[in-house]
Symmetry: C2
Subunit: 359 residues, 2 copies
């Protein structure tokens, strides 16, 4: 037997910038021209965002546009293949790049296609929702659904840059604000407790478009995600704490057939994770109540709808893709800002906590 | 405007071994158990290979099997999605791994799915054809077709290990031998001219299963690919020389509707690339004739079928995914072992050379 060793060098250090501010399109255009990440750009957006913002983007940025059907139900491998085929039909090649202009679905689908189109092309993210600006546009996770399950196909494909333009938020529907608030409260719970009183007191100012305050909470949120992703790009350990509230959250979201939004489901999931933390003796009652109070004040639901079956939620927990082997990991809290991953939460306790949150 | 820099560390150096020898399944089993790349393994193979080898593999390796439909026409995104869904239905998760047992199609589809299933799981390659053992199993390129074009979706996803078991070659059909010979002659042409007289004289001994000789030519071929991939993992430059004969080859293969096999098409492509090299004054007539003679002696076609339209081949050259911007790159030769990439080959000359090869 011969053995030949293929010794591949480490890849180069990679870094990219998250720009947060108002009216960034000139900055985007200048960077696309100056940095030469790609020779030709394709804006990928969706049918909700296109009528609101596409004309303004194309007036500044030299690119062609591809418009995807809007909505979580289109975050599928079929949409990704249709996008790739559309890029191909327009002559995209290995030197082309994608500018993702939209919320989490656009960012995930466009980022996924960028990672697999001709074995990978550059992607720049222009998140247009608060949720995408504080969470999904940063960190390089991409993913699409197959008929049998959510987010099963995906990659880690870091963007060349993220531009969070506050001007996009002016057209945000009410429910999209609460979706973003859920993730900001999550960052408060796991890493920056100072965000909790700000969110409790000032969510109306955020909705009203207070630029200084928006820049503050988006910046603090991105800073936390940046620090975690830098230390654990591929979710080997630390990055799991970003899943606080998402274990039960994903199960609730799926069990509702996605009539419960991601942020609403994560809010319910955080209520359950806090209750588990308290029942297991890790988190004090006052801290648990503070978290539930903040969620309520920003307008998020803190009860699981009685229409959802506990058995259905529990069954979906077993299918959560974050399970490793047979253990379901829960992110729990010792206090605001002190999360930890528990692999040994009794199933019976999980059932009780979900039943309590539903009653 | 705030700017937050996300500074990602270089990924770790990665290396993997290519094992070449007879009856390697015990080695495979020992490495899967000892190296702990994954907690649970899924053999991915196809309907041609399964009846010949699957029982023997599963007798040694603790794994479940998924059998794909065989054939180039099934190297599609639909097959990849069906494979991912099948893995999911069997309970595969982020701790599972794929053992690809088959030729180039199985390796490409299984490697692609491994790279995108739950954002990436490990893959071990057990190539069963000569072509896969000398070429496609090494280097981490994966890819599938969409209806509009070949190999448009793919990734670079290096295997954990490659095991080229010569025992698999005992069941190889005649046409699969010539497919592999084409790539070995290519390595001779671009990097190891000593392979050319060996192939000219001893292809019958290879077909007859001469173990020492098979180990020799497969080892020398893998060594060349290893050295090139180590220096240019993602085809930024040097790796392009591996495409010698593939520019016209891919166009001929596609224009024939894949009735011309990959190796046959690459053989025709090498004849054209050698003719271009000679017409442009880079390659001497004796070297050009030697290469054509070797291809003929191993049983490969050196003429493009008259049934294929020159205009169709030329049009497909323009769609080749390796084009950067508007320039088509040709890999040409100065002498055996001295390839170079030319970006300035006149289209009219390409047409003449293809017409000559077809007459």
């Amino acid at each position: 037997v011969k053995a030949i060793t293929v010794a591949l060098a480490p890849c180069a250090a990679r870094s990219y910038e998250i720009h947060i501010g108002r009216d960034l399109l000139d900055t985007v255009a200048a960077q696309l021209a100056g940095r030469r990440w790609a020779a030709r750009w394709f804006v990928v957006t969706d049918s909700n965002v296109a009528p609101l913002h596409l004309e303004r983007v194309l007036a500044r940025v030299d690119a062609e546009a591809v418009v995807l059907p809007a909505g979580e139900k289109h975050k599928t491998i079929d949409t990704a293949v249709a996008l790739a085929s559309s890029l191909l039909a327009r002559g995209a090649d290995r030197t082309s790049g994608i500018l993702a202009v939209g919320g989490g679905v656009v960012g995930d689908v466009a980022g996924f296609v960028a990672s697999i189109f001709m074995r990978g092309i550059p992607c720049v993210q222009l998140p247009t929702t608060l949720l995408a600006q504080v969470d999904s546009s940063v960190g390089g996770k991409t993913g699409v659904d197959v008929p049998a399950a959510k987010n099963i196909l995906g990659t880690f494909h870091q963007p060349c840059a993220v531009f969070s333009d506050l001007a996009f938020l002016a057209t945000l529907p009410a429910r999209e604000w609460t979706n973003g608030f859920a993730e900001i409260v999550k960052y408060g719970a796991i890493a920056d407790p100072g965000l909790l009183p700000i969110m409790a007191a000032r969510s109306d100012d955020l909705r009203a478009g207070d630029q200084q305050l928006l820049g503050e909470v988006i910046g603090r949120s991105c800073r936390i995600k940046q620090q975690i992703v830098e230390r654990d790009e591929r979710e080997g350990g630390l990055r799991r704490i970003l899943n606080f509230g998402h274990t039960v959250g994903h199960a609730v979201e799926a069990e509702s057939g996605f009539s419960v939004s991601h942020g609403e489901a994560v809010s319910m999931g955080m209520v359950c994770a806090a209750a588990l933390s308290a029942r297991l003796g890790h988190l004090g009652a006052a801290h648990r109540e503070e978290l539930v109070d903040v969620l309520r004040r920003v307008g998020l639901p803190v009860r699981i709808p009685a229409s959802l079956a506990v058995s259905g939620i529990l069954e979906r927990l077993g299918k959560d893709k974050k399970k490793a082997g047979t253990t379901i990991h829960f992110v729990l809290l010792k206090a605001p800002g002190q999360p930890f991953v528990a692999g040994d939460v009794p199933g019976e306790l999980v059932r009780e906590v979900i039943e309590d949150a539903r009653s």
